[in-house]
Symmetry: C2
Subunit: 503 residues, 2 copies
């Protein structure tokens, strides 16, 4: 264990998680590491949850503000939500207990773009950051921190927090050292300069996180693994969606609108994303790169195959099976993977400059090309917008993918009007379901509706959608974006009332 | 007149507008200059409209694709819409005839971000550009073009069009020469590099537009003035909105969140914008700059007062009274005004880097901070999103302003759910009405609703809004963003049915 903590001063601050958690006070804002289940602290959150429960039992309720990179794991979000220890959560979560508390109105949640978190914390939008709890994979002799399997907002937490608790995780591969690129050149305006990335592989920072040793109040060792939950396996629906996306890339390359090696890929996680990445192994595109948030199984396979030359992200999100393989062979990826802070991995300036091909999953799309990524039936938050807005808004081509139906066919992913908008008609280029692909670029809303119905909607729902548009064209208040206001959200209402959108 | 056309070859191509318009064919895509009623061609569009009408009379309908910088004037949009000569219009318009045709379903309109137009044309999203019709204020001896009172997409039109028609307008001030900054460093990915602007005043291009003389097929002289319609005068409502915005700036400066000279201002046009700018003349902020789309009356006043050090934009939009003053004295502004192509004036990279303070008008806002900038009652397009998305999405602080009611109190600008979303909850920082200001940064949707109702809604509508939220908190499908799906758009439906949102 001490092999991972090579700095004498920090080694002297080793304590157990309960002792460390006792240094966090009620009302503190706590910035924790963690992004898509990677690199989150494993020990202190559980100890903090115990403190919260004991305080509650004493009749002295204790809550903290909980800020992370993105989603974490049951050992962090789950345990703290269970004891209702979180006053305000941001910026992205995917934990079932947290989600339930938010949707019961028992926890506040602020759903902001992942690229905006750091700058808004620097602006002071959320108040002072009191404590940082950051997992690292080691500490060098001179006290620099070797980041873990995600970087997320750690640079900002370490700089902004008054007090720092480090978890040093010896489960993480030692080969992670050197794989990170932490950029210390950001600033608030008027002091900003260009982010000097012009190609995916550009290194612009240093491989270590910096933290003045005098801010560190505890060092907690751990050997616990990342969450690494298995993704849903690739099924036929995912494969069909992937095939449409690959066809699209092919057409764009042949039409001279994309280069042969494509442009840097950004891909959400999940089985559709993995299916697209699997398809790219056999596609005629060589020398590809990924400028993305997360390196999931399919991305690692693509790197191993040699088709993907380079991947830049802020975190891993690997299945249990793949993570063991990665940890054994991490050294071989060191020159081909860069993990950066999330304000750089998702930076609108860089995403726009590189011209990312953005592929993100959604909850639902509407006839006119608006996208809901976050809410079920308009009110219930699912996970959050994550980085999808950072990429979609600035991508060269912004692609959204979804199966055409959910809940065994009870829910249509194509609806008359989305019940919540996360990506507006102005930011959506292409919608893909297993039924087909609708390229909405350059089309007026009415033309988009024709394509979305005929290409993307499930055949069972097409007649209802055609009927809606037909009647809207007759009697809507305007025919630019024809809607029947009394019916626009009726599919969602019917689902809430009857359990299905079908009539 | 020939004094403005100092190049021999181009002088030899002078012809009248009818002759020039005869060189435009049915089905052509035509890129015309023009941005907020400035710098649009005055002669050729009318001649083209005559051709369209005559073709229609012969039973040979003629239509063109019409692309501009932004809004133009009756002599361009109006005449062409009147004869239904436009197949597809983009990217922004504010013409009543055009608007009526679009909302009658007789014209297609694609409403895209102003910063996206150039790159999407380069990508080929809208097909080939056949003809450019561009107003310039003069031609140098060696054939360089002196831009007019707007730049907009002219660089792209001149580069991408097969054939070019120039209108040389001697009404425009000769002092415009040297005021423009045309950047020729843009590219499609993977060849993009940073846009080298780090301060509002940075000159990165040249003062002239380039166009190979062999592409020019006609040169049409004109002396017609820009539209220069008068803005609605500043009224008490606008002054109260402005006062809230100025208070906000003051609080932010005192809190150390904004520097004393503020950050570069972006301001939409109209009487509220002019009221804010008027208020800034007496505010304690010196050495301000504006990085914006449009220089309107208030901006010019602020420049003259000395409080505004520098303004960068892509167009003027002055009232008739002010434009005469400007044309007489344009020389004195030459070092303090830069007009750039709209892909630079609105570039997300630059807007983010400079940290613009974005102030834009809206149609309506909802309880949870979503903004509708474009549609009346969900279906009827008003003007378009313009640059509001370019700025709001990337601004340091994104402020939206509106009177709390419209149509004599029949319409509330604060509604349960907006009927169309142009700016999502993730991109909206501050909402201001004459009632007050709601700073939504860092708040969960439910907290935002409290503020929006109590600070921004008109008192007449507050009880209805409180009632809606109260019942939604009881029975919504989720309590993160509590909505009653059957009622969410009922205010708009009631307006359509009864002419008022009031019960």
């Amino acid at each position: 264990m001490t092999g991972r903590i090579r700095n004498r001063e920090l080694a002297a601050m080793v304590m157990d998680a309960d002792a460390a958690a006792s240094l966090i006070g009620s009302g503190d804002n706590v910035g924790m590491s963690g992004f898509t289940g990677a690199g989150y602290p494993k020990e202190v959150p559980g100890a903090l949850a115990k403190r919260v429960a004991m305080a509650e039992a004493r009749g002295e309720p204790m809550k903290v503000g909980l800020w992370t990179g993105a989603s974490t794991a049951p050992e962090l979000d789950g345990v703290l939500a269970e004891v209702e220890g979180v006053e305000m959560r941001l910026p992205y979560q995917s934990d079932p207990v947290t989600r339930a508390k938010i949707n019961d109105g028992r926890m506040d949640y602020t759903d902001i773009h992942l690229s905006h978190v750091a700058q808004q914390v620097w602006q002071g939008v959320f108040g002072e950051l009191d404590v940082a709890v950051v997992e690292v994979s080691g500490v060098t002799e001179d006290g620099r921190l070797i980041p873990s399997s995600s970087i997320g907002n750690n640079k900002t937490w370490l700089e902004q927090a008054d007090r720092v608790i480090l978890e040093v995780n010896s489960w993480q591969s030692e080969h992670l050292e050197g794989m990170h690129d932490v950029y210390y050149g950001t600033a608030l305006p008027p002091n900003r300069v260009p982010v000097p990335i012009t190609r995916t592989e550009d290194r612009i920072g240093v491989p270590y996180l910096e933290c003045p040793v005098e801010k560190v109040i505890a060092v907690v060792p751990t050997e616990a693994p990342d969450r690494n939950s298995a993704f849903a396996p690739v099924d036929e629906t995912a494969e069909r969606i992937a095939a449409h996306v690959l066809d699209f890339f092919d057409v764009e390359v042949r039409g001279g609108r994309l280069p042969n090696e494509l442009l840097p890929l950004q891909s959400g996680v999940g089985n559709v994303a993995n299916a697209v990445l699997a398809g790219l192994r056999d596609a005629p595109f060589d020398g590809m790169t990924a400028y993305t948030e997360v390196i999931q199984d399919g991305m690692l396979d693509l790197l191993e195959s040699g088709k993907l030359r380079m991947a830049s992200a802020t975190a891993f999100s690997l299945s249990s099976a793949t993570v063991d393989r990665f940890n054994r062979n991490a050294g071989q990826f060191r020159d081909r993977i860069l993990l950066r802070p999330q304000e750089i991995s998702n930076h609108p300036e860089v995403v726009r400059r590189l011209g990312c091909l953005a592929m993100n999953g959604i909850v639902e799309a509407d006839l006119y090309g608006n996208i809901n990524s976050t809410h079920l039936m308009g009110s219930r938050i699912q996970n959050g917008i994550g980085g999808s807005g950072d990429f979609a808004r600035n991508a060269h081509v912004s692609i959204f993918v979804t199966p055409s139906v959910a809940k065994g066919g009870a829910i249509s992913a194509i609806v008359p009007m989305v019940s919540h908008v996360d990506h507006t008609e102005h930011d959506v280029d292409v919608i893909v379901t297993e039924q087909g692909l609708a390229d909405l670029r350059g089309l007026s809303p009415r033309r988009r509706a024709e394509l979305v119905i005929e290409r993307c909607a499930h055949p069972d729902f097409r007649p209802m959608l055609r009927d809606y548009v037909g009647r809207a064209m007759e009697s809507a208040f305007g025919k630019h974006t024809p809607h029947l206001l009394g019916e626009a959200l009726s599919w969602h209402q019917r689902f809430v009332d009857t359990g299905t959108m079908r009539r």
